[in-house]
């Protein structure tokens, strides 16, 4: 196990310049060795990390994430915030998780173990040990590297939040001491919170995973070696450049499927590896098709998938808490046995998690501080992909006549929520987990869809491509996204982003009133002379055609705080249609038409560009109540209740 370390370091030294000519600025180089001890649910690990000080200042300490310590006891920040429950899954107190750093030393140099300290940069919770710092005897100078060797043991928790085990299934994520990001003259190394995900620097990972032979193993990157050991174990070596994390999985019940995926435009060739638990093997084709769809959609929309492998992990039954999570070149999906085809959970999760490979994996967004840059952009991408492949009105659900599309699904989350937080905020500072989720996922996704419908699909497509191209393998911020959007569209979009990204308010325009008042003949005093309506014609007289005139009023109101220019479509009884525009700034405006026809209906934003609008119902108004629809809905409800009554009495 140890023999390969010097060889690898030699590769780094001699081929260093070539490595740094990779896709990313390779700040870190990890050489990891992991031995799975399944009976004890732990991993014995050794890490050799080379870190490049890419800043202009000397660095005198190193900071590491020890994410697994979030599951160490009930007083960690993660546990205090979550109450031991994550996305509906509960902690098993019989199986805590933690990481123990046995020692850390500079390669062939000073022992740093005595200087190891746990720090709590976010909340000062002294019980939290998810961030560790070590002092260095001499600072690392700008553009210099330091190599440290760490021995550690990772005890996996019973999975309830991404990483852990259930039975013989292991999802090993965030399992090794991972160095923080030295950025703007300081370490960006946040604690693990119940609502935060991850952030790290790009680099090279070479990992030897040793597990009993009966286990099927999958991992980030390409498998470059595999050998049997005398003790009944096997060692798998994986290697990957231009990634910022490494995860792996092991389970004896995985069935491995491999498929070569190629695309001509853009040119790409990659190997799809599906590790499907035998309980879900009948759903393998659903996973495979969804992954093909994801590869095609993201490659064509944003840029060719650049890695040689993509691994889909299907968590074992009972381990759904490990599902729906992204890691570089590997992600976990989710399903359950006998899931009907119309419930598109496996498809949605597969496309979504694969998509993170773009907005978290390649575009290295900081999920602690600006999670929307990953989750929101990816939700937008997922909505578009799901709509394309599974239908606009049924992309999420199509069962028993009930159809739900991705846009409707995300709108439900946004419009039914309280408004306490904006989209851009530190992930751990939202009022609740629900507020975090709806803001960084659904609201941000719909915000981009609104922008797309505002600017046009072509312009938005160019924005997304340009953003991906410019910021892949780097760490962008919200400002960078806005800058790209403005550059590509050639438009000042500050009015848009300033509202939707930083304010918790809402967008809600409405037709607040619609009136058609008949204007009678002149009756009263006009210019000092009394006019009266003409008397009715006597029988036999020729009737004079007197077309009725109407004063038609359309009142448009702004109920939300966000100000967006609006289109209004007004339809008259004679079929005439009038389009109006309004800058939307005042609280209300009125359009008046004096015509010989009545207004029939009016609709603000008739093309539904503003998918962020909090209430579609009040966007339109008809002069007369649509009785059949109301009757149908009410009778439908009554019929349902009649059936219920007949059941409870029989």
């Amino acid at each position: 196990m140890r023999k390969s370390t010097p060889v690898f370091l030699a590769i780094i030294v001699f081929l260093g310049p070539a490595l740094f000519a990779g896709l990313s600025r390779q700040i870190v180089t990890y050489d990891l060795k992991a031995r799975l001890v399944p009976e004890e649910k732990k991993i014995e690990g050794r890490e050799v990390l080379t870190w490049l000080n890419d800043s202009d200042m000397p660095v005198s300490e190193l900071q590491f994430h020890l994410y697994l310590n979030a599951f160490k006891n009930n007083r960690t920040t993660f546990m205090k915030e979550s109450g031991g429950s994550h996305r509906g899954f509960k902690l098993d107190k019989e199986n805590w998780g933690f990481i123990t750093v046995k020692n850390i030393r500079i390669q062939d140099g000073a022992d740093l173990t005595p200087s190891m300290t746990f720090i709590q940069p976010d909340d000062g919770n002294s019980d939290d040990q998810t961030v560790m710092k070590v002092g260095l005897p001499t600072p690392v100078k700008p553009r210099e590297k330091i190599t440290v060797a760490i021995e550690f043991t990772s005890k996996m928790p019973k999975v309830f939040a991404r990483s852990g085990f259930v039975g013989d299934f292991f999802m090993v994520g965030q399992w090794f001491p991972k160095i923080g990001v030295f950025q703007d003259g300081a370490w960006n190394c946040h604690q693990y919170h119940s609502t935060t995900e991850f952030f790290a620097d790009f680099g090279v990972f070479k990992v030897d995973i040793t597990a009993p032979e009966r286990f099927v193993v999958g991992a980030t990157g390409k498998r470059i070696a595999e050998k049997k050991n005398a003790d009944g174990t096997k060692t798998y070596t994986h290697y990957q450049e231009d990634v910022h994390d490494f995860a792996w999985t092991a389970c004896p019940d995985f069935i491995e499927f491999k498929e070569k995926y190629t695309l001509d435009d853009p040119r790409l060739e990659t190997e799809m590896i599906l590790l499907v638990h035998r309980a879900h093997v009948k759903q393998k084709d659903r996973y495979a098709q969804a992954l093909r769809n994801g590869l095609e959609f993201y490659s064509k929309s944003y840029g060719a998938y650049p890695y040689e492998t993509i691994t889909l992990v299907d968590p074992a039954p009972g381990a759904m808490a490990a599902g729906g999570m992204e890691y570089p070149t590997l992600f976990t999906a989710d399903t359950i046995t006998w899931l009907p085809k119309g419930v598109r959970l496996p498809e949605m999760v597969t496309i979504h998690e694969f998509g993170h490979g773009y907005w978290y994996g390649m575009v290295g967004s900081n999920e602690f501080e600006e999670a929307w840059l990953d989750e929101g952009i990816n939700t937008y991408s997922e909505i578009k992909a799901m709509t394309k492949y599974y239908g606009e009105d049924r992309s999420m659900l199509d069962i028993g006549g009930i159809k739900v599309g991705s846009v409707a699904y995300n709108r439900l989350a946004v419009i039914g929520s309280g408004r306490f937080d904006p989209i851009v905020k530190n992930s751990w500072q939202y009022i609740s987990e629900g507020s975090y989720a709806l803001n960084v996922y659904s609201k941000a996704g719909l915000m981009l869809l609104t922008l797309e419908r505002w600017l046009g699909e072509d312009v938005m497509s160019r924005i997304m491509k340009a953003y991906f191209e410019k910021w892949k393998f780097r760490h962008p911020t919200t400002k960078d996204f806005v800058q790209v959007a403005e550059e590509v569209s050639g438009t000042d979009l500050s009015w848009f982003f300033n509202q939707v990204l930083t304010s918790p308010d809402k967008l809600d325009y409405a037709i607040s009133n619609l009136k058609a008042v008949e204007i009678g003949e002149e009756d009263g005093i006009f210019d000092g002379q009394t006019n009266e309506p003409k008397k009715e014609a006597k029988a036999g007289d020729k009737p004079k055609p007197a077309p009725k005139m109407y004063r038609n009023e359309v009142t448009v109101a702004r109920y939300g705080e966000w100000v967006f220019p609006q289109d209004i479509l007004i339809v008259f009884e004679n079929g005439e249609k009038v389009r109006q525009t309004w800058d939307g700034k005042d609280r209300w405006t009125r359009f008046v038409y004096t015509k010989n026809t009545k207004v029939v209906s009016a609709e603000v934003d008739p093309e539904h560009k503003m998918v962020l609008d909090a209430n579609y119902a009040n966007n339109s108004r008809v002069l007369e109540l649509k009785r059949p629809a109301v009757v149908k809905a009410a009778l439908g409800f009554m019929k349902w209740f009649q059936g219920l009554l007949s059941l409870i009495s029989l």
Partner: protein, 287 residues
């Protein structure tokens, strides 16, 4: 086969009593009608003047449903409260209806008018059937205990959540077992009510115990009769669903046609309720 004789007798008796079927349908409609007005007010208030409802007559638009669910929060709360209260009241009402049905079935004089007999029966047996409902706790509690034992037994057999198929099968099994227990107790109570009405007995608890003894003494046959009648209910439901799917309810005429069809189905449930009582009444003598 006495079961089929009972089945034939039950269905014949129910078919010969269209007025009783009408009464049962009428009570159902009267209770449910209130929800029509509440729902129409809520829906009309939230969406009635919006153009979004224009397409609702042709197809279900999830956006409209979402708007209604999110914008009609308070009204929906009131609607849910009304549904719960009406359901509870209907349970009390159904105790009255059982009295009416059984009194009519056991009444020998065909010359008398139907309505007075039905309502007299409802009033006459209300107290006894109400007590029977309370006494039925002696069945519901052991049934609950049996279900918990069954549940724990399944958990003991299947501790490993990784066998997901088994989890799903066991869950379906638990639901079916719970339904079996519920229907078993309802059947026992049917027999108890029939005994009370048939013998004009005031010994309610004895009637319940007698029914337990009768049902468990002839479990196979009583269950066979119960589920045979149940099949008729399912058949009626399927026919209703098939007919309902043959036309699109997009105009006021077709909407009302759909409503009429639903009322025929609800009436068939009333017919089935009478058939159950008549068939099981016959079963006491024949099986």
């Amino acid at each position: 086969m006495n079961i089929f004789k009972c089945f034939g007798k039950g269905t014949k008796e129910a078919t010969l009593r269209p007025k009783m079927v009408f009464f049962l349908w009428l009570f159902n409609v009267l209770f449910a009608a209130l929800t029509y007005f509440l729902f129409a007010a809520a829906f009309g208030g939230a969406l009635g003047t919006s153009a979004i409802v224009r397409d609702l007559v042709r197809k279900t638009d999830m956006n409209a449903v979402i708007e209604f669910l999110t914008s009609g929060g308070v009204v929906l709360g009131e609607l849910a409260t009304a549904v719960i209260i009406l359901s509870i009241l209907y349970v009390f009402m159904s105790i009255f209806l059982y009295g009416g049905i059984l009194h009519s079935l056991v009444h020998k004089n065909d010359q008398e008018r139907f309505a007075p007999i039905f309502f007299a029966g409802g009033g006459k047996f209300y107290g006894r059937f109400f007590r029977l409902t309370l006494y039925s706790l002696v069945l519901w509690i052991p049934a609950g205990v049996i279900f918990v034992i069954f549940d724990n037994l399944l958990k003991a057999i299947h501790r490993d959540p990784s066998h997901e198929q088994l989890t799903v099968i066991f869950t379906i099994g638990k639901v079916l077992f719970a339904l079996f227990l519920i229907f078993l107790i309802k059947m026992i109570m049917d027999y108890a009510r029939i005994k009370i009405a048939g013998q004009d007995s005031r010994e309610v608890f004895q009637a319940l115990l007698g029914s337990v003894k009768f049902v468990f003494g002839k479990l196979g046959r009583t269950l066979a009769l119960y589920y045979l009648l149940g099949l008729v209910g399912w058949a009626a439901f399927l026919i209703y669903k098939v007919l309902n799917a043959t036309f699109v309810q997009s105009s006021m005429g077709t909407i009302l046609l759909g409503f009429f069809l639903a009322q025929v189905f609800i009436a068939s449930r009333g017919w089935l309720k009478i058939a159950y009582q008549a068939a099981q009444g016959k079963a006491i003598d024949l099986i």
